[in-house]
């Protein structure tokens, strides 16, 4: 269970309050107007921003002061999810061993992860030789071998076309279902949220509200969400 305990996040003069829990294995969308603090919330959970006040826990273990790499979570950013000078397999390998050489067994793990995301023959290619969709798949293969408890998505598929984006979201949904990973994804498209999440955290007026059922939220939106959806 991911718990944000009376957290106050500051980003310059901007403040965001968050006080809620997310169940293990839940799939949660984070939506809200642009500038509301969706990315800020995810970056804080990932450890790239310090909390002004409050505590964060994963399964009753505090992670408030842990550096990003020591937290039980993996994150995909809007861009820069792969190192351009490393091959697809090397990029995936960093998920297992960021600082050393892979054993034969670990190389097999990389191979099967690439196989799982539909790129069995692409291991030796560099990102520039892959399409946008294929690059996203490599990043997801790395997430797979990282075996972290929580996956944070900060709109990593925003640059893809609608069909490709839907395909990637379905792949994400399959992967997190297989591994029991807890998913938190930023989105500004209600369709994305409805497609693969059960719950939604809605951010408005400097508050990240506790997650509610996605479907019901959109069927009966509160006034602030209604304004946002238009």
């Amino acid at each position: 269970m991911l718990k944000l305990d009376e957290c106050i996040i500051s980003n310059g003069s901007f403040l965001l309050n968050a006080d809620f829990e997310i169940e293990t294995g839940a799939k949660v969308a984070v939506i809200g107007p642009s500038g509301a603090g969706k990315s800020t919330l995810l970056e804080t959970i990932a450890g790239f921003r310090d909390l002004k006040a409050g505590q964060m826990h994963w399964n009753d273990q505090s992670m408030t002061t842990l550096p990003p790499g020591k937290r039980p979570l993996a994150m995909l950013f809007q861009d820069g999810n792969l190192f351009p000078h490393l091959t697809a397999a090397q990029n995936v390998g960093l998920g297992i061993r960021p600082n050393g050489r892979l054993s034969d067994e670990e190389k097999e793990m990389v191979k099967s992860a690439l196989h799982r995301v539909g790129l069995p023959e692409m291991g030796t290619r560099k990102p520039a030789e892959l399409s946008g969709g294929q690059q996203s798949r490599v990043a997801l293969a790395r997430i797979l071998v990282q075996k972290r408890d929580v996956l944070l998505l900060d709109e990593p598929f925003a640059a893809l076309g609608p069909a490709l984006k839907a395909e990637m979201l379905d792949l994400v949904a399959d992967l997190v279902a297989e591994t029991g990973t807890t998913l938190l994804m930023v989105s500004h498209d209600p369709q994305d949220a409805l497609r693969i999440t059960e719950q939604t955290v809605f951010i408005t007026d400097q508050v990240a509200h506790a997650p509610v059922a996605t479907k019901q939220l959109f069927e009966n939106p509160p006034p602030a969400l209604r304004d946002y959806l238009g």
Partner: protein, 515 residues
């Protein structure tokens, strides 16, 4: 950026910066302590100061003024070979001074091409030694630099402005006043200051073309105090004077010059509608190209003739130069890459400042300080080569940092979060990400450092005894002994080595590098 976790350690760079600062400031302090102020400056010292300032002023003025029409012509004309010509404008930066001097002598010297032509008409030959020779050589080196800097100013004028002026019906003169003059007013002070500062510290030109009571620069006076009189106190006093001068000029140059790189994006010609005078533009372009290429062509031709009867001394000196350049380049990279990383994390501006110190201190002053420090414990001549390699590396440092810091900043900024989220350690991030991503810039910086060290004729002249010489020094000695054929052959070898090593390292860095 302050206070953010960085994926890479700043300490190696801070240590490197401390070493550089200790070397530069330590030698300067040594010079200051040793300087004999009791005697004060004698008349010949004042003459040296006056000549130094005069030649630097004239060199800066001529280079900049001549560069304006050349840059203007290059900015508005499109022709075959334009790209090559603009690339050639970068060559003097890594061209060994002694090679250019030899070429200039062969063209403008007493028995040079032009004097020969004058002789046909019964006119006396040109005198190249003295003030006008020094200024001529400085213009040869700095006209291309000035042209590049001013051309950059022209390229930065938005094309829309020329379109608007054309639509308003501005003719050539009006367009000059309206658009070009304001640009020149903005760019020229920096160009003048940079060239002035460069000419203050150019030792090899004064050594070869200057001399005598009427054409001695301060650096040359330091060298003479060393070699002729072995008067360390006087050398130190002159060094202190030179230091004050270069520090002031470097500060002025930094203040006036803008943070531009090495002239990327100069390949675009601006579309203009004022026509101008194609003939005049052609004249300037051809004149500038001839002025630059003639001496080089002369060295290549005469050197090729002398190539087969080179004394073994030259090959020995060439081997020594390759060794010195290799060590110097490795030292530079050991200092510059970590320093660039520290500077790029944004928290240590002081690191970059330490790197720039090399611009303010002249190599001869550092050399003087090192000589004073080394002499009580060892024979300076024994350490001539390591000292030369070290001083060359420190001199190349400001340029290397200029090349590396922006790329390092970009790489860290772009990959910081991913590396942190993967729990990559700082060492791995340095070796596997930064070094690999910066390969093109590292290759470029290494190429510059190697070529500069290969062609350097400065500190080595202070330290070397008759037994040992780098190739530039050997060529200088051959010229002094009037063995012009052998000197020309050696100059061609040096030219090929400098350009070759730059090309190999620069290419090597970009080989299979992904954007």
């Amino acid at each position: 950026m302050a206070g953010r976790t960085q994926p890479v350690s700043s300490w190696p760079g801070i240590s490197a910066a401390a070493l550089v600062a200790a070397l530069i400031l330590g030698t300067l302090a040594t010079v200051g302590l040793r300087a004999e102020t009791s005697g004060g400056f004698n008349p010949s010292d004042w003459a040296a100061l006056r000549f130094t300032l005069l030649q630097a002023t004239l060199s800066a003025a001529f280079s900049s003024m001549l560069a304006i029409p050349v840059a203007r012509a290059l900015a508005r004309r499109r022709f075959r070979g334009r790209r090559v010509l603009i690339a050639l404008l970068g060559v003097p930066f890594i061209l060994p001074v002694i090679v250019a001097i030899l070429g200039l002598l062969q063209v403008f010297g007493r028995s040079g091409w032009i004097s020969d032509v004058l002789g046909v008409f019964g006119l006396p030959p040109i005198q190249i030694y003295g003030l006008h020779g020094v200024v001529l050589a400085h213009v040869f080196f700095n006209l291309p630099l000035a042209t590049r800097l001013i051309l950059q100013g022209w390229q930065e004028i938005p094309a829309e402005r020329f379109r608007l002026a054309a639509q308003l019906g501005c003719d050539g003169m009006a367009m000059f006043r309206l658009i070009e003059l304001p640009m020149l007013r903005r760019v020229l002070p920096g160009v003048l200051a940079v060239i002035f500062a460069i000419c203050l510290t150019s030792f090899a030109v004064a050594l070869t073309l200057g001399g005598g009571p009427r054409a001695t620069t301060i650096e040359l006076a330091i060298y003479q105090a060393f070699t002729y009189d072995f008067d360390l106190g006087r050398a130190a006093l002159l060094s202190a004077l030179q230091l004050a001068l270069t520090a002031a000029a470097a500060l002025a140059a930094l203040k006036f010059s803008r943070g531009d790189g090495f002239g990327a994006g100069l390949n675009r010609a601006i579309r203009r509608w004022d026509g101008g005078t194609p003939l005049l533009d052609a004249f300037w372009i051809i004149a500038a190209a001839t002025f630059l290429l003639l001496p080089l062509a002369s060295v290549v031709i005469s050197g090729a003739l002398g190539l087969f009867e080179l004394p073994t001394l030259v090959f020995r000196a060439a081997a020594i130069s390759i060794l010195v350049a290799t060590i110097s380049t490795m030292l530079l990279l050991l200092l510059a890459v970590p320093m660039a990383v520290s500077a790029a994390t944004g928290r240590y501006g002081i690191v970059e400042l330490c790197g720039i110190l090399g611009l303010a201190a002249s190599p001869l002053v550092i050399g003087t300080g090192l000589f004073i420090l080394i002499r009580p414990v060892a024979n300076p001549a024994m350490l001539a080569l390591p000292v030369t390699a070290l001083v060359n590396a420190v001199m190349a440092l400001p340029f290397a940092l200029r090349i590396l810091v922006p790329a390092a900043r970009d790489t860290i900024e772009r990959h910081r979060r991913l590396a942190l989220s993967l729990d990559m350690n700082k060492r791995t991030f340095f070796t596997r990400i930064i070094v690999m991503r910066l390969r093109p810039q590292i290759g470029f910086a290494a190429g510059l450092a190697a070529a500069l060290s290969m062609g350097d004729l400065g500190v080595i002249a202070l330290f070397a005894d008759a037994q040992i010489a780098t190739l530039p020094l050997q060529i200088y000695r051959l010229m002094g002994a009037y063995q012009m054929q052998a000197a020309a052959g050696g100059a061609l070898v040096l030219l090929l080595l400098s350009m070759g090593v730059f090309w190999i390292l620069d290419r090597g860095g970009r080989w299979h590098a992904e954007a």
